[in-house]
Amino acid sequence: MEEKKFYLTKEGLAKIKKEHEDLKALKLAKTAGEIPKIWHSEDLNPEYLSFQEDLSFLEVRIAELENILRNAELIKPLPKNKQSIVSLGAKVLVQVDGQTDEFTIVGSLEANPSLGKISNESPVGKALLGHRVGEEVLVSSPIRTIYKIRKIKYQTS
């Protein structure tokens, strides 16, 4: 099991908590031999269909979620006067290589670069941290790339 801290956005933490609650309810219902309500839920995730079948896998996932919740660190919203700086949880509009892209800087657990969620531990995520709108961030190894920060946005809590 990983011992490190998991930095999570408010949305990410809520998702983990909900999955934990749902799976616990599923396990309880399953051990009692009932068909859980979640089975009929319209927003049933495909994963649940699989968990439903197998108690041991359900337990492994619950243990994993508990480990995450034990080591979770909520990314707190920055005070207004610091929201012009890229920090964890920031949505950053960048110009790179003649194109624009939007990244959300998240902790490793929530990272999903295909969806624009960049880890704060990735070379680009790390390089953007601490910079302001208008600044150019150079990532140079081995090919030089400049990320020009166009906009920084934080979700209002």
């Binding site: 495909p46 994963e47 896998f57 670069p113 969806l115 990735s122 081995p142």
Partner: protein, 205 residues
């Protein structure tokens, strides 16, 4: 047993299916999907073991099944929706890393997931219940990053791809490496794989 035989025959198709990313990069004799699976499993196992706190057996199983869905779904690349027919334009496109809006990214990801899940379910439909359940769970783990093994292999898999890109580049001066680095520095965040990436950079530059 006949169903098992049929399953292995279908899986064997991956030995002859070239990886699409190399085809659009016009690489001669590109590796097959099975060849990619072989080395990604080795890399996942050995680097994963060095990382520690990893269930290696599970990791190797994830590696072995992670691309089985491609038997029917085929291989996808980030360029698929914007591929020009003209070869010159295609070569130009391969020098850039494609960027999409957040809604386009979401759409692409969910379509890919749906297509691959359907394909995997078709492939394993006649397997006995135990391996059938296990394969779908391992694949979901890889796709959704449900456990440390799934999360780590998701990156180890792409590191194998990156290494292959370098090997072709060394041999054919193709594919262009610019887009690969743009992608890699946004994608990788595992400390041990970032170290590996540095070694890769030193060896080839």
């Amino acid at each position: 047993m006949k169903d098992l035989l049929d399953f292995f025959i279908e899986v064997g198709k991956l030995k002859r299916m070239p990886r699409r990313g190399w085809i659009i990069n016009q690489i001669k004799n590109p590796e097959s999907i099975a060849e990619h699976i072989f080395r990604s499993a080795l890399m996942g196992w050995i680097i994963g073991e060095m990382k520690g706190n990893i269930n290696v057996e599970k990791l190797i199983k994830i590696a072995l099944i992670h691309d089985l869905c491609e038997v029917y779904a085929g291989d996808t690349t980030p360029y698929d929706s914007i591929l020009p027919r003209n070869k010159k334009k295609l070569r130009e496109l391969m020098k850039t890393w494609p960027r999409f809006s957040t809604s386009e990214k979401k759409k692409k990801i969910s379509e890919k997931f749906r297509k691959e899940k359907k394909s995997l379910q078709k492939l394993i439909s006649k397997l006995p219940p135990k391996p059938k359940k296990e394969i779908i769970k391992l694949w979901l783990d890889y796709e959704k990053g449900l456990t440390p093994e799934g999360r780590f292999f998701h990156q180890a898999d792409r590191m194998e791809n990156f290494l292959q890109a370098y090997e072709y580049w060394k041999k054919y001066e193709n594919p262009p490496l610019g887009p690969w680095w743009l992608w890699a520095r946004e994608f990788f965040d595992d400390p041990i794989l970032l170290k590996f990436m540095k070694v890769l950079e030193k060896k080839f530059h």
